[in-house]
């Protein structure tokens, strides 16, 4: 639903370029997780965030709890970055995650 809104819904990038994905939250949330679902359907956990920023290789993610959003930055996009990126927010600090609808990323050479 609208509790976790992701944008854009789809994105095409050339190899080597940078971009950012965004999640806006209309629920109270204390943590955010980002996942990548590859074309075979496997969901891989990219980040678990409390308010603040984390970096892992070419990926960097920020969770701003005061303004209720999170971003995922992809630097130097590679073909293997293609897939659908999901953000998920805990519902009021519970273990139950509410997922966004995903951003489908296609990286081409």
């Amino acid at each position: 639903g609208d509790q976790v809104k992701q944008s854009p819904s789809a994105l095409s990038l050339q190899e080597g370029t940078n971009s950012a994905l965004r999640c806006n939250f209309s629920i109270a949330t204390t943590t955010v997780q980002w996942f990548l679902q590859n074309p075979r359907g496997s969901l891989m956990n990219l980040f678990y965030l409390v308010p603040g920023t984390k970096e892992n290789g070419r990926l960097k993610s920020t969770f701003n709890s005061k303004e209720s959003y999170s971003t995922l930055h992809i630097r130097d996009a590679q073909l293997e970055d293609s897939g659908t990126y999901f953000c998920a927010a805990d519902e009021g600090g519970s273990a139950k995650l509410i997922f966004g609808e995903g951003t489908k990323l296609t990286v081409s050479s």
Binding site: S42, A88, A95
Partner: protein, 113 residues
């Protein structure tokens, strides 16, 4: 670490039949979750267990769906009298205590004909 293991990978049932889906969480993880993914509804929470006890089943359809966790190494999701609208990918996930990073299995794709 084998990750979360789900079996079977694919299941085809006829309308009205029963389907049982299996999940083995990561060893040492005490929280186990079930989610369902469809094109229309996206990823939806179904239920979760901590230390084998049911904690939240607010996402479970009230009829025909049930989940158990008889021991710390496996959980099952049972759907009785399956209907075509139950067709989905059912995903199991686990985490250390429930409030940390979530790790998903590959899912079971259920097709109800």
């Amino acid at each position: 670490n084998a990750g979360v293991i789900q079996t079977p990978r694919h299941k085809v049932t006829g309308k009205g039949q029963e389907a049982t889906l299996w999940c083995e969480p990561i060893s040492g993880h005490s929280a186990v979750f079930w989610y369902r993914q469809t094109i229309v509804q996206g990823l939806e929470f179904l239920t979760y267990f901590r230390n084998q006890a049911p904690i939240d089943d607010s996402g479970m359809p009230k009829e025909r769906f049930s989940a158990q966790m008889p021991n710390q190494s496996h959980s099952t999701l049972k759907i009785q009298s399956t209907q075509p609208q139950d067709s989905a990918v059912y995903l199991c996930a686990s985490s250390t205590t429930g409030l940390e990073r979530l790790f998903f299995g590959h899912g079971t794709k259920l097709s109800v004909l």
